[in-house]
Symmetry: D5
Subunit: 117 residues, 10 copies
């Protein structure tokens, strides 16, 4: 339990360009979690697009946060929504979108997109 | 007859993130039905993009629903519209789009797009 | 003369889903006509995107209509506009766009786009 | 049973260019059969490359032969080997290769290649 | 001097479909001019997108007009703007966009886009 | 009849580099003929790869030769073999290969390859 | 320890076409193991190409065998060689090649190829 | 210190087409700087899209300005924002967007986008 | 006349690694010459692959040599063979291949390949 | 001087699979050095393909070795040959190939390939 990813895993650093609205696109092709039904691993690419407010998220901590999902049983929709919420709570961006592109299961592939508006 | 796909084939599960408007994109490259004129099989990729309301559609049941089309005589326009309606009735999404991309026949390929607005 | 394509070559069938606004995209990569200046054949891909009203155009008849252009002397702009008008008159769609993508001549390739708005 | 594909479904026509060794490559992206374990449909692209001898296989009959596999329970290796043998018996080509490229199952995709040497 | 391209090189022909607003996209991948600084040739693809008014530009004359740039010393911005102005003066289109995509120089590639609005 | 393509349509010019064995690859994406069964046009890309001997084939005449096929009823295998033989007789190359890549019919696409060895 | 993948995890089934030499290409894009230095997960695509002898490897068991690597600390070269050896011992193929394509680390990506000759 | 890139490195030349609003897209795939944490080089493609006002930036000076980053310790966000500000101060464009596409680090790739609105 | 490209335009420098057989591949996408029949410019990509002997060709001089072709009337076969011979005479490589990939004329594109064996 | 890359920068580790001939392909897209003529940076992708003997090269040390080139003045041919020799001396592989793919300069791009045979 104590090993699960939480918003506290995401280290934040002050945004030096807070006065400008600029966008950061982060792409993480090596996401891994466990399907709660089959117990088999699910692979995905996670994309996070955000407009920083007072803070940006440090990339090394983001990587370690993402790695913590790999032995966690979680559905596609939940994983994407959880990353969205953790990221939002940690650095409170002006805008944010999280996209989870999951590999095919039974010939069906799924993309989940959550964004603040 | 009793073997034809109906909205009841689509199992629904509660949407845990009902308060957020998020999008789910499902892509099914292995759709198969029968051309009512020639009796020959038609191949398509079906794409379903929706914003869940109170329910999401369970993927395994969606797969079995799709498989039921393979021995059914149905036109391109009808197949796409039927999936649209069955999906809508089953989980009543906030928004939905169904796209059927059909393989070429006589050198002509066809895409049918239905969406709620 | 009597062999030229006309709107009457396009067979129409009732649209079973008239109450929904859905889009049909038809792609015909094997269009052929004659350049009125050089007498040499011109090759194109014709794309027809429309929102059906009371009728949809039957694909087999569309194919035979398109084949009739192959010995007809006609300019790029005229061929695309003629298909647009014939299609419009035959099934009176809610919206329609016709795109002709013509192969390079003298190192210059041309696309013609006509749409109802 | 009587509905299963056999070599007799493949119509042959005399090869007018028997004296030249030329190659014919046929690609059939719309192959469908049934997985004997799960009962679910398997999708594949079948490629047949051969050097005709006294006969070539007529394409329309090849298509109908291929369509007969769609309700037949058969493994990937068996389907590819069966097509190889039926084709060989029907037109006795100088050389032949059959390739079956099957869609992913459980995240694993398979290609089977059989050839005469 | 008398060999430089001018608007008079562009032959115009009446637009038979003046009443419809349709778009013509012309792509010319073989543009060549001389860099005024180095004296070396610059290569580009020129794209012209316009909505014809009373006239369309004849393609053969457009080709010869373009060829006249090949020994002319002219900067990227100027070449694209000159084509824009010459085209506008010659056929007075309802709308026009000219795009010059120039090959890399010193590892930097440049695109210039001019349009009427 | 007198309008059918023959080897005499292919103009030859002396090969200035006869002493070197060099290869010429010609690609003609706009081939058109008539299917003898359906009467409908067939589209193909024709590729000719040869090592010239005393003569090379002039490209303009090759184009006009190819255009002559467009109203001729001929099978895929025959068209490719005929071009092979006509080319061989006209310029007697050291080596030659002719490839005909035909568009899909009934979901099956065909490539025919003939070469001298 | 007892959880590590071994050759016994690979189920074999009799090869019905033992008399023909045919090739099977298996592609597994979702391989995962642990880097022994950093403790972080490594992602790879594993490709197995083999000519079956008396047995073929059953795909479901292959998948479960592959999944067992995901919490195992192992280097790129060792993982690929281990799969090669386990596969060889389990079904003793006439020929076999195993390719491990590993994702970039520090901007360097690595491919390991082992084959029997 | 005196070697660091500044807005004064960017030479400007008068914009001859000031009266027209046209866009210039510059793409620089060979950007290099130093990661302040690891001391290792970071690689990026920098894209600058702007609508010139009274001046355009001379490309040779832009190249030399960009080269000055290669031994400078600077974060992704800072590098992109600095180029944005230097460019803005130097030629005061009507509109400007700067995009930095950075190569993957630890399997995560980052894009930073700054624009004036 | 004195302006035509000759082997003397190709500057050579000593090959420091003469004892190793290594290959150099040079690709020049911006070749330009004049068609002797139509007087219009022809565009090509020239590729030179060689194994240096005692000398390598300096790239700046190669570029200037290539530029000299742009106002010269010369056929595709001749241009490729001339570059082959000039390069061979200038640096006498252990092996050399020259490939000229010419843009489409009348819908036909041509590649000429010359190599020493 | 003492900062230049040497074979001693390449750490080696024992090859556990010395008895099998297997291939390792390493791809390094972020190579950087200085052009000795212009003083400007040159960018390349370096590919190293080798069959290990008693040792393999450790990747982290390879990365640091490669980074040392970035402020070194060296020609394309020399850089590729130097890496080839350093690698060969450090781990004495059974076979090795080094490929340097350098970015375009003056519109000409160069690939250098060295291999042991």
């Amino acid at each position: 339990m104590e090993n699960e990813p939480t918003k506290n895993d995401l280290e934040i650093v002050p945004n030096e360009y807070e006065e400008t609205d600029y966008e950061v696109n982060v792409s993480i092709p090596e996401f891994n979690c466990i399907c709660p039904r089959t117990g088999l691993p699910d692979f995905a690419t996670i994309k996070i697009n955000y407009i920083p407010n007072k803070y940006i998220v440090e990339l090394k901590s983001l990587k370690l946060y993402i790695v913590k999902f790999r032995n966690m049983g979680i559905f596609h929709e939940s994983a994407t929504n959880k990353i969205f919420k953790d990221f939002q709570k940690s650095c409170n961006p002006k805008q944010i979108e999280v996209i989870g592109e999951f590999g095919a299961r039974g010939g069906i592939s799924t993309i989940v997109k959550v964004n603040s508006k």
